[in-house]
Structure formats: C-alpha cells, structure tokens
C-alpha cells in the first residue's frame, strides 16, 4: 500500500485522510492553511519546497495576554503612533518556503506593512499599523498558518539586545591600515638611496605613522588592557609579551622616523595586530540558531490566565503571581509556579524538567511543580509560591550561575607564555649587556629588536586557529561547542557524569515487555485498533511496538482521562489502562505499566522499560579505560538491574538525586581534584552543567530546547562522544607542535636581533611568514583530525 502524505505538512495521513482539491491532508488544520493560501494566491509556498508546513495548533485564549499594554511595550522594539515593530521567534522556520510566506504576510493582512525573516536566527521582524491590527492579531495570524511564534519570559525584558561588533571594526581598521602601510613601506625595502625616494620618504613615513595610530590605540587596545589585568593579578599571560611587542614596535618606529634613523617597523606592527585579530575572529564560531545561555526564563510563558475573585478570567504577568492566586492552565500550557491542583484532570509532562517524556497524572489536591506542561484539558490551580521561589527556579539562585568558568582556568597558551616571557626578557637583557660592553651605540637597538622579533604572534595564533577550525569541524558533526576554551577543558577531563533519563535513554522509543496470559490474535487486533484511537503517549508507544494488524472499526470507544481506554468490537470488550481501571491491584510501582483486560477477565500487563541509546555499552566500555564514570539520576532505582547489565561494573550508579544534589556531588568531586564532564539534558541538570568543568547538553532536536551549557550534542551523535574527547586531546598535541614550529622562527629572528642586524624588511618577512605557516599547519592538521572523527569504526 502506498503511503499517503499530507500535502501541507508531509505527515503520514493513512488513517485520517482528507481530500481537498485532489490533494491529501492529514487534518483539518492543514487543509485550512492550504485554503487560506490558495484563496490569497499564495500557493507558490508549495512550489518552493514540498510539504513545508506545520499543523496549526489549538491556540484559543493562549495569547490573550498580548492585549496588555505593558506586555506589548516590552515585546515591540518600536512603538510610536500607529506603527509597531516586533521581532518574533518562530521555531518552525526551516526552508525557503517559510521565508517566502512570512515575507508575504501583507497579502494576508494589508495592515502588516513589512515583514523580514532572519533565517539563521529563525526570527521574523514585522512592521504593522497598530491602529488597525494588534500584536495579538498578528500572532494569531501567524498561528493560523502554522507559524506559531514562541514567546517566553525571556522576551520580557527591557531594552534592545546590544550587538557587539567591535571586533569587526577593529579587524577592519587593522586590515585597512596594514594594506596601506605595506603599500607605503614597499619602496624603501629595495630602492635605498634613490633620489626621488630620498626626497619623499619622510612623507611616506609620517603617513605610515598616521595609519598605525588607530591600530595601536584602538585595534590593539584589548592586548594592553589584558596584559595590565594579567600583571595586576601577577600572571604573565600571552598578552604581556604581545603588548610589550606592540609598544616597543610603535615607540622604536616613531623614534626612528623622528630622528631620521630608518623607516621604522610600521608594516610589522600593523601586520601583527591584523593577524592577531584575525585569529581572534576565527576563533569565534557563533551558532545563531543556538543559545548556550538559556535558563528557565526561555521556557516559561510571559503570562497566564488568572481567575479573579469574582470568577472572571484575566491575563496576569508571571512575575506578578502571588501566593494564593488562582490560575487557569489550558492544554499545552506550562505551569509557571508551584501550586496545588484545584480542579480538573491534570496530566503533567515534566520533560522540560527531567527529560522524562511520560506524563504524570495528578488528582485535585496534589502538588504541581513549576515547569510541567499540562497535556489534557483545562485545569485550575492555586499558586503556593512565586516564580522565583518555586522548586525548579530556586536552582538559579545558586552562585554557580554567576560564575564565569573561564576564570581560574590557565590555558595552554598562557602556561607557555610565562616561561616564554621570562626567557625573552633574559635574552634581551643579556644581549644588551653584551653590546653595552662592546658597542654601546647598538645596545638600545638590540634590546628593542629582541622584543620586536620575539613578539609571540605565531604562538598566540596557534590555539585560535586550531580550536577555531576544530569548532567548525565539530559543528558539522553536530557537536556545537560554545567557545575554544571548552575544547581545551574537554581534553583535560578525567571524570564523566551522565544523567539517566533523556540522556542515556532515548526519549522517543521505549520497549515494553508483556507479562500475563498470552493474547489471542483477535484480542491483539482489538488491542491495536483500540490504541490507534488514543493520543495518550503510552498508547502511542505501545501502538508502535505492537505488530501490524488489519484495521477494524470499533463499535464503541471511550477514553477515560487519567485512567485508560475501553472499546468494544463484535461483543468483545477490552479495557486498557491503570491497574485500578482494569480491576487489579498494582504490585510493582517502580516501572510504568499498562494493564489489559478483555471481557472483564484480567489478561496481563505491559511493563515499559527505558530504551537506552544505541551504542551505549560500547561507549561506556571505550570510556572506562581512561575515565571514572558515574550515572546521576533523578529517578528511582527501577532501572538499576538493567543498567548493571549494560554498563561496565565500575560505573557508579546513584539514584534519587535532586537538582541540587547533582550540583553538590560535582562540587565535592571537583574539590578532590576531579575534572568533570557532565552530560545532561533537562532543566534539572542545569545546575550540574554549570558546576562541571564542561557541561554538555544532549538534545534530540538542537533547534528546540537545551539548558545553559558549554556544548550541545545532537543525540544521534551520542555514541561518538569518545571520539570528540579524543579529538580535543589531539588538538592539544597540534598546538604543542605549532609552538615548536614558532620557536624555530623565533630563534632565526633572535639571531638577527641579537647580532644587531634586524632590518625592517627582515621583520616584515619573518613575521607574516611565521604566522602564515602556523595557520597552514594547524588548518591541515585539524582537517586531518576531523576526517578521522568521521571515519567509521
């Protein structure tokens, strides 16, 4: 049988096929979107990409808060008179059709004057006439065509985000000056003593001086600041010899042209700063679609519905919720504060918090924790805490979230620069003393020449280019690393801690075992067909596990929220659900079970086990040779036996860990000298990810959510974790080799400097040559390294 797929969203629509205009749709939502587009001549949408759409979600009442003035004020970047401009984040943006339809919004509503998509950031910037159309209307329009914007508490902050482009400006200035200075200094390299040149060389020299002023005082400013800070805290970081080099270059060159001693080293000076900034620029690899800084604010809604004392519904800003407030939580809405369930059937999905995808049902009077998502119908709850004091959000008051991990971490470059600086200074002093004794007129010349030629440009470039290139290679392999120092930290790790749920288990698939009386073939058909009608996650999972059966139509089907489902077909009656619903008593409480009875006879139960990611045992066996392995789980011990079978025996298994416990566990081990790599996924790991030396968030879909971390690893690449760590270690070796290479250049240069024959042309050749050979060497070496990661084992 041919699979039918929806014309709009591409989903499988065998079960619920709707035909319209000779096209198949999986649901009415998709069909409606198609109708809107075809009525407004926007069917080009489907020409650019096949099935580009998304199913529009139920949004009744969800955006009522957008009519509040203070919220509109915060969400719009421009709000004056009749014009408002808002930038909305739309996760669904994924193809050229999306860009096309969103930039043609004015065809759907003529009061939207302009809309511009930023594909990388997945945002659309909409300008509209606020007298005729409101922000709420705009958001609703987007939602009806399947592009529901994602508005979170994170958007609720004043002021525009400041984009820091100073590095590009600095790079531009340094590059501009470098080019011009090269061009001005070229004549003097060769035509020494030529008549016309003699006449105009002063003009050329002063022009070079003018060009290098912004380079030293603006583009190179950071090196002086960093060197000053380093010296202040008694650290000889790499920026100390660099700043010294830049300063000496500039002062000596200026002195040379003032006293007409020579043409100075302005070419080397501007070149040095330009190459250094280029390295800095290359090291920055930003993933516009990813964020490494998320906290709970990115998950939480801006406002929810409050039920006032008179019984009216009104939107309330989440920060304004006070203890005792009654809140209305609709289907698919997030619970913003801890509270008590008053009314309604709650099925809470805590997957944001724990990574566990199975929903938990709650009865009225039960406690609900902030961060859960209601998945069935409307509930009413009473807040017992404010947002910041809720169980989950309290975690963010821990100091660990205000610490910068890079502080107190000595990079390889800085470690070597300490010895390097001392060595260079000693050579400079010895050489100067020697020349003072033999030819005092040359002493100052030699002293400055040593400092100029020993300026560790090549050393400073080794790490940025190696790590920068590796960051890009990792990015292509779906391992997104925040910055270069993370790779260096990763190479030094000696303990690896994993979260269980969602990290080593996969979210999508579970396995289930059946225990009890064997089901007959007709009973299995009935079971499968009953499950087909239910949208409960457990039903869906079980449906996928069971063998394919032919489709029968049920005479009767009923779903009891929070209990189970029952159905009849040809006098056969089936009940699927919780133990009490089916009519038996629960024996084991640790694992999730689904019980079955037919015609009021208890048959048996399906017990769900976590399904572990592919290659888990193999990965652990590779890792156990070099690292201490720990599993820190927030769950109960239900999976203990399973895990013991799968993992190497020395793996520590620790259960029932609260978010704070995880953080403390890591802190304790770090105090004993462990360098910890934490691999987690949910918000409950956020503290542990921040405390660890390297925190990697594992994500099934990198475009969606991940807590604040140092790196994001696509779940499909989980089994390659060991390779990434190995590659980081190799990268350190590459850097050490390039250090050796740059020392060779330094020794050659020092020969010229110490013997007092450093001509500007020698410096101008040696410096770029050493920098370029380092760049070439590190790029080739890391590319080979990248190929090795990619190889199949």
């Amino acid at each position: 049988m041919d699979k039918l797929s929806c014309f709009h969203c591409g989903d499988d629509c065998d079960n619920t096929n709707i035909t319209f205009n000779e096209k198949n749709f999986c649901c009415n939502g998709c069909k409606t979107v198609y109708e809107i587009f075809s009525e407004n001549d926007l069917t080009c949408y489907y020409d650019l990409q096949t099935s580009p759409g998304a199913v529009p979600k139920e949004i009744q009442g969800k955006y009522d808060f957008l009519s509040q003035d203070n919220i509109i004020e915060k969400l719009t970047e421009f709000n004056d008179g009749s014009i408002q401009i808002a930038t909305l984040y739309i996760p669904h943006i994924h193809c050229s059709s999306c860009i096309w339809i969103l930039e043609n919004l004015n065809k759907l509503n003529e009061d939207i004057t302009a809309s511009q998509v930023n594909f990388g950031k997945k945002t659309v910037r909409i300008t509209y006439n606020s007298e005729k159309v409101t922000l709420k209307d705009t958001v609703l329009l987007l939602s009806t065509i399947g592009y529901e914007p994602y508005i979170s508490l994170d958007d609720f902050k004043t002021g525009q985000q400041h984009v820091n482009r100073s590095l590009i400006y600095k790079l531009g200035i340094a590059g501009f000056a470098f080019g011009n200075v090269m061009f001005l200094s070229f004549p003097e390299y060769f035509e020494v003593g030529e008549f016309w040149l003699e006449q105009y060389k002063h003009l050329f020299r002063w022009l070079m001086f003018a060009f290098s002023i912004p380079v030293v005082f603006y583009a190179g400013r950071d090196y002086f600041i960093s060197a000053y800070k380093g010296l202040n805290s008694k650290l000889l970081n790499i920026d100390v010899p660099i700043a010294l080099g830049i300063a000496v270059l500039f002062i000596r060159s200026t002195a040379e042209i003032i006293f007409d001693l020579g043409s100075g080293f302005f070419d080397s000076l501007t070149g040095l700063v330009f190459f250094l900034l280029l390295g800095k620029f290359f090291q920055q690899k930003t993933y516009t679609f990813l964020s490494f800084e998320r906290d709970y604010k990115s998950y939480f809604p801006i406002a929810v519905t409050k039920i006032t004392s008179v019984g009216n519904e009104s939107p309330i800003q989440v920060y304004d919720i006070k203890k005792g407030d009654r809140l209305l939580i609709r289907n698919e809405e997030l619970i913003p504060v801890d509270g008590i369930l008053i009314n309604g059937k709650a099925r809470i999905d805590y997957s944001f918090v724990t990574g566990e995808s199975e929903t938990v049902s709650k009865q009225s009077g039960d406690k609900l924790y902030a961060g859960g998502k209601q998945t069935s119908g409307v509930i009413e709850m009473e807040a017992i805490k404010s947002v910041e004091q809720s169980y989950l959000t309290q975690l963010w008051s821990n100091d660990v979230f205000n610490k910068n991990k890079e502080d107190g971490f000595t990079t390889l470059t800085n470690a070597i620069s300490k010895r390097f600086t001392i060595a260079v200074l000693s050579i400079a002093i010895i050489a100067t003393l020697f020349w003072l004794a033999t030819d005092a007129s040359k002493a100052m010349n030699v002293f400055t020449a040593v400092l100029i030629i020993a300026c560790p440009c090549a050393i400073a470039l080794s790490a940025p280019f190696t790590f920068g290139n590796l960051l890009r290679i990792f990015g292509k392999l779906k391992f997104y690393v925040k910055n270069a120092s993370v790779i260096e930290q990763l190479a030094r790790v000696n303990t690896i801690i994993f979260d269980k749920t969602g990290t080593i288990t996969s979210n999508q698939k579970s396995t289930a075992n059946y225990e009890g009386v064997a089901l007959t073939s007709s009973e299995e058909t009935l079971l499968k067909n009953t499950l087909r009608g239910s949208n409960h996650p457990l039903s869906r999972t079980l449906y996928d596990i069971l063998d394919e059966h032919h489709i029968i139509s049920l005479n009767h089907f009923e779903e009891h929220l929070g209990k189970g489902i029952e159905a009849t077909h040809d006098n056969n009656h089936i009940k699927i659900g919780s133990a009490s619903f089916v009519g038996t008593t629960e024996s084991s409480v640790l694992n999730t079970t689904v019980h079955i009875s037919t015609n009021d006879h208890y048959k048996g139960k399906f017990t769900f086990y976590n399904s572990y990611r592919k290659g888990l045992s193999k990965l652990f066996n590779q890792l156990k040779k070099h690292y201490d392995l720990v599993i820190l789980s927030g769950d109960n011990e239900g999976e203990l036996e399973n895990l013991k079978k799968l993992l190497p025996s020395k793996t520590k298994l620790i259960f029932n860990q609260k978010p704070d416990d995880k953080l403390e566990y890591i802190k304790y081990h770090q105090s004993e000298g462990a360098k910890v790599l934490m691999v987690g996924d949910g918000l409950n790991d956020a503290g542990a990810l921040a405390q660890s030396n390297v925190g990697i968030a594992l994500s099934e879909n990198v475009n969606v959510f991940s807590p604040a971390c140092d790196a994001i690893l696509d779940a499909s690449k989980f089994k390659q974790l060991n390779k990434f760590i190995k590659a980081s270690k190799r990268a350190i070796d590459i850097i050490k080799w390039s250090f050796a290479l740059s020392f060779i250049y330094n020794i050659i240069g020092l020969y010229f400097a110490v013997t007092g024959q450093l001509a500007p042309v020698v410096a101008a050749i040696l410096m770029p040559l050493s920098s370029i050979s380092i760049v070439v060497f590190t790029t080739i070496a890391t590319t080979i390294l990248g190929k090795k990661i990619n190889e199949k084992e």
Partner: protein
Amino acid sequence: MSVIYILLSISIVVAIVFFIAFITAVKKGQYDDSYTPSVRMLFDDELVKEQPKPSIKIKKTN
C-alpha cells in the same frame, strides 16, 4: 614629481571612503544575516506575479 602629493591624497581619500562604507555597512547590520538575502533574491519573480484580488479572506481555524 610633486604630483605625488595629489596622487597620494587621492588614493588615501578613496581608501578612506571605502573604509567608511565598510564600517557603516557593519553598523547597519548588513553582515548580521548572511543567509536569508541569498534566498530572498530568488523570490523576486513570484512577488511581481500579483493578481488583483480585492478581498482578502482569512478563515479562522477555531
């Protein structure tokens, strides 16, 4: 040979003009999104093909 003063000033002025153009381009955010414009330019044909359709209808899904 004093024409070199004019030539030098012209060359530097031209260089500075381009440099300022680069800085303003960065400042205005032209380099912030380097992907979308490459896709957008391919749409221009479709945008012209607008048919007169006075009434714009939108059906509510809910």
